[in-house]
Amino acid sequence: MYFLQAGDNNFGVSSVLILGTLGMFVMAITLISVLVFHQRRVIRFNKQIQKMEEERQQMLLRASIRFQEEERQRIAADLHDDAGPLLATARLYLNENLIHQEPASQLQSIFSAKQIIDDTIQLIRNISHSLMPPTLKNFGLEAAVKDQFDKINGSGAINASARFHDNRQRLNDEQELLVFRVIQELVTNIIKHSSAGFIHLTQNAQGNIVYFRIHHDGKGILQDQFDKLEYDSAGLGLKNIQSRIRVLKGKIFFEIDNTQTYYKVTIEVPRILSK
């Protein structure tokens, strides 16, 4: 208490007391105000992040639905434009068979109808294969990727090759399908947009992680562009890639090599062993 008594002589009791009380009061009020405003700002920021995340999820969901719709439309168009007319023609031949009773013309129309039905079967098989590649189902990812790359090579426009270094322990079926779809989408994008002369896929594994890397010499995209496109309303294919990678609990990286010659896309997938 000594300093307070000493202060009495210089400033007077009331000055010390009023200043001290006001000072403490103002400090307490300032502290409370700062805390309240800071918390409000943090809450606003959190809500904003939450809203952005919700919007992104919405966008991915919408992209996924749109992709499904486009796939359905494609199948519907294939069936309507190709299988429909073929079956209608086969029906016409069979109708003619009922009208013309001559065995020679009957034989001719039955033969034509058979040809058309064979074409239709082939068409339906193609549609079915595009939905679920039989090679993937029967022989696994390596065979399916190599098969796909052989088909691309067959076109002669681009040189595609794939090498699997460590595929003794395969991913489970669901993971293989998802990885295959991602690779398919990436390769389609490279063929469509990059004007690449070659594509090479390398697979390897380290510990529990399986890596897939696609190299190509065309014009590619980098990680920041990929991240931007994810928030863009365009880029449906990239959104599907992102959704699938998320389901796989994996990662995807878009890079360019040090010599600025080749673009690289790397996919990391944690391995869940197939049962």
Binding site: M1, V16, I29, Q39
Partner: protein, 185 residues
């Protein structure tokens, strides 16, 4: 104000300080439910304060003067506890506004009250006979008392609102489907 000097009033002040401090410690003991370290420390702080206050009352002050030392110590401890509580509240990540809980208002009430009256009570022991000080004592003490009561009322309203919210939950009868409970003849 002259009555502050009488032994009877001083004893009452001493008792009030200890009781008030004990209640506030209990409040913060409940408020720090999620912080076990601080929660465990509060009883030790209470005991330490109690011993120091008794030493002050019986050996130093001997109930002859206003207990500025005990009140000052109490103020510092409660201010620290209130600030710690408020900081921990804003560190907790949830979207609940800090001022929508009654605990916030109680902490704020005592933070403001003890901050505002800290100098007043510190000076009372040595200055209570000064007429100018006596005037200020009443003004400051009463002002902060009124403010304390207003803020505590707000805290109580918060509590009432919370209770009201709990009771406005869907009533039980919604779980009891009439079809399964209708009387059979």
């Amino acid at each position: 104000m002259q009555s502050i000097g009488s032994a009877y009033v001083i004893q009452l002040f001493a008792l009030f300080t200890i009781v008030e401090y004990s209640f506030l410690c209990y409040f913060f003991y409940i408020a720090f439910a999620n912080k076990p370290t601080i929660k465990k420390a509060i009883p030790y702080i209470w005991v330490a304060f109690f011993i120091l206050a008794l030493v002050d009352y019986f050996f130093i002050n001997q109930f002859k003067k206003f207990d500025s030392f005990s009140v000052g110590l109490e103020s510092i401890i409660i201010i620290i506890m209130a600030i710690t509580y408020l900081f921990l509240q804003i560190k907790t990540v949830n979207n609940l506004l800090i001022y929508s809980t009654f605990k916030f208002w109680v902490a704020v009430t005592f933070l403001i009250n003890f901050s505002g009256t800290f100098f007043l009570y510190l000076m009372t022991e040595s200055m209570y006979q000064d007429p100018e000080f006596q005037k200020l004592y009443f003004i400051i003490n009463l002002s902060f008392n009124i403010l304390k009561n207003i803020l505590l009322s707000v805290a109580m309203c918060m509590k009432t609102n919370n209770i009201a919210k709990t009771t406005s939950l869907p009533p039980d009868f919604l779980d009891k489907d009439y079809i399964f409970n209708r009387p059979t003849n």
